[in-house]
Symmetry: C2
Subunit: 434 residues, 2 copies
């Protein structure tokens, strides 16, 4: 990540915060487990690895505003998960809400669409460098699935190259052979190469010459449970050249990083052009919409695919997306995310050093990933995270975080203070750890 030389904030004396407790969250979860498989599923659930240690986390929220949410026990959090991405402007952003409400008074899901769908497509074509067109759906996975189907339809080839550690949603084709409910047939045409290894890609393309439809990848590796990895100098440019040489469709999955690094797309940020690019989370500040964008030469292939959904032409999320992109552009949100993400991670590392720990931050500052060094069991890191959460800083253990535009320098500094207190507690508990 960018290691900007931000001034190191001196950590003054801290007022100890009483750790939060979660009786109402636990009671609600007991209800949930009766009527919902796992009680809460996905990242948000306590069965997901990111939440370890479970007992230190709240499970249900009651209200959210700006960069904060409140859990059902009334505890307040500065939230660095941002709904796992969608909260890009701040929860309940007034401009986005106003645009959505105005559209809701007119119409939402109707038998024929609103022209606001066209307005949004035009705005995306204007905003996103690789976009000659836009196709709207509901999940990030709807767009990654359409992308691989498009690559296959356009090339009449079967195989797809993935990058080791990938996540492109939950459709069977994007899962792994040993995952429950997934058939070997569904993943039989998946090839995997390491990230930042251009020779591995070259070998794979040559070995399967004429059989590879597409390569799908996140703009950089922001996976879980591993340090996030930025693209090496010239990597993407070499990938682009190889894809062109082999007639392979280059698909960027920008569901997680999209609109946080560069409104023109994360491919643009790293100096190359995708053929297809997938957006979801940050597209409409939480309103439910995703988009596949792409180049003109693939427009007919997309059109040829049978692909539709009950709510895909829903007008309210389109209105929210227009308001979101417009505001992100006006305030130059990506620059703000980089600045505040750098200030935060720099301050957190200093706070760790003050207690003789080494905190490693990786990935882009807008989506920073944290890990305590010399902690192969991950337990010390989890302890520190738990102490932060129980004092109002909502982070998770093994997933990247997200910055939103409602976050202020004061919030960041308060976060560093709380994190310092958490480091100090962990140090007292493990005086000999080094």
């Amino acid at each position: 990540m960018t290691e900007a030389l931000a001034p190191v904030k001196p950590i003054g004396p801290l007022t100890p915060i009483t750790p939060y407790e979660y009786p109402l969250s636990r009671a609600a979860f007991a209800r949930a487990t009766k009527v919902i498989p796992s009680g809460i599923y996905g990242h948000q659930g306590p069965s997901e690895g990111c939440y370890i240690p479970q007992a230190s986390f709240p499970l249900f929220s009651s209200r959210a505003e700006g960069t904060r949410f409140w859990d059902v026990d009334g505890n307040e959090y500065i939230d660095y998960m941002c709904g796992y991405g969608p909260n890009v402007l701040g929860y309940g952003d007034a401009e986005v809400h106003a645009a959505a409400r105005k559209q809701a008074e007119l119409e939402d899901v109707v038998s024929i669409p609103s022209t606001i769908m066209v307005d949004l497509a035009e705005l995306l074509v204007e905003t996103v460098a690789s976009a000659d067109w836009a196709f709207f759906a509901k999940n990030g996975g709807d767009t990654t699935t359409l992308a691989i189907m498009t690559a296959r339809a356009a090339t009449r080839r079967k195989k797809i190259v993935f990058v080791k550690g990938y996540y492109h949603g939950v459709a069977p084709w994007s899962q792994k052979l040993d995952y429950p409910g997934v058939l070997e047939e569904e993943v039989a045409n998946n090839l995997t190469i390491p990230f930042n290894d251009i020779e591995a890609l070259r070998r794979t393309l040559e070995q399967h010459a004429g059989q590879i439809a597409g390569l799908i990848a996140q703009p950089y590796m922001h996976g879980n449970f591993v340090d996030n990895e930025l693209p090496a100098e010239g990597y993407w440019q070499a990938v682009r050249r190889l894809c062109d040489e082999h007639g392979v469709v280059l698909i960027v999955d920008d569901v997680r990083a999209g609109f946080r690094l560069d409104l023109a797309g994360s491919d643009h940020y790293y100096g190359f052009s995708a053929d297809l690019i997938c957006f979801c989370k940050a597209l409409a500040n939480g309103y439910n919409v995703s988009a596949l964008c792409g180049r003109d030469f693939l427009k007919d292939a997309v059109s040829s695919i049978t692909y539709t959904g009950s709510y895909w032409l829903s007008a309210v999320p389109f209105a929210a997306a227009i308001a979101t992109i417009t505001k992100l552009h006006r305030i130059d949100a990506p620059a703000q995310f980089a600045r505040l993400g750098t200030r935060l991670t720099t301050g957190l590392k200093t706070a760790a050093r003050n207690e003789a720990f080494t905190l490693v931050s990786s990935g882009e500052p807008a989506l920073f990933y944290l890990r305590l060094a010399d902690d192969d069991s991950l337990m010390l890191h989890q302890e520190w995270v738990a102490e932060c959460v129980q004092r109002g800083v909502f982070i998770t253990s093994h997933h990247n975080h997200f910055i939103n535009a409602a976050l202020t320098e004061t919030d960041v500094d308060m976060t560093i203070d709380i994190a310092s207190q958490a480091f100090s507690i962990v140090r007292k508990r493990h005086p000999l750890w080094s």
Copy 2:
């Protein structure tokens, strides 16, 4: 369908309606084709067969309320497509909007869910006969995909039985071999049997003994371009018995018919119990949410599957769903749909007879399907549909229709008047057709 002996409304003298024109729809579509593949995709698009003849249909709406919408040229329609299902209470239903707005003021997509998710799961378990639990997603296809993955995970078998003419969304596994972007591997484990043919099911189950994970079917055949077909007496009970004998998971795809026949589920309506049941369209009156419900013995299998999405815990659609189900229950909406659907189809058939045409209505009255008899080319039917649409009755040619709770007897009678006028015009144009 139920051929209730509703009184035949005498058709009086009609005031001729000037056919609608669509210059602003056409202009917007020209914009759309530049930035969206196909301009408009899915059922709503003019490239979809249901819309033939294209020139007679509006393409973009500007406002919707109750049972009506207005297109961008200002033309008004009584809408029998209901957004292809989601409009179950009437567009912009005040109770649903109020519940959604109240929730939106609190929170929507947050890093941990609202307890309103649990409230909705509890309500579904209480309402839907086959539901011991509920799992929420965004598309109908998310729930059919989770259903077949669950069947496979629970049985450790691969094959899925489909019913000829099926539609279960657009995921590759649910498409056909010759569809663009679909691999033979993805549909290699699909078996197909005819509807209402219990011997065919028995043979298939015996032929592939120990290999079939699940059977997925709509509660009755409400496919496109064919008369819709209700289950034969005892059919579903025999299917249920065979599935039990062979350890096959019985999945009902109630995405289209759900909550229009019976709030307890269309399986309950036809006197059997599904193991898994899929809901989407009518669940929240257009707010974007879907649900897979099922029996306790499959809860662990569902929990074992990696399945999540960016907006799946979105709270506002949950609030809308609770308000929708509560109101559907209070007004006994399914009874109203059956009554008005019967009044409408009976009246339409009379109107056809008055001009010496035979109109065939099939399927359940709440989701009636129409076809003109003695019209194998389908062109006469399309002509009649076009004349209806251009006079303010929004129906389509080869897709079932939908009744919503805002529809009144007056609307139905006005519809029959307009349809009569359309039959009369078609008869004048084709005086010798019989």
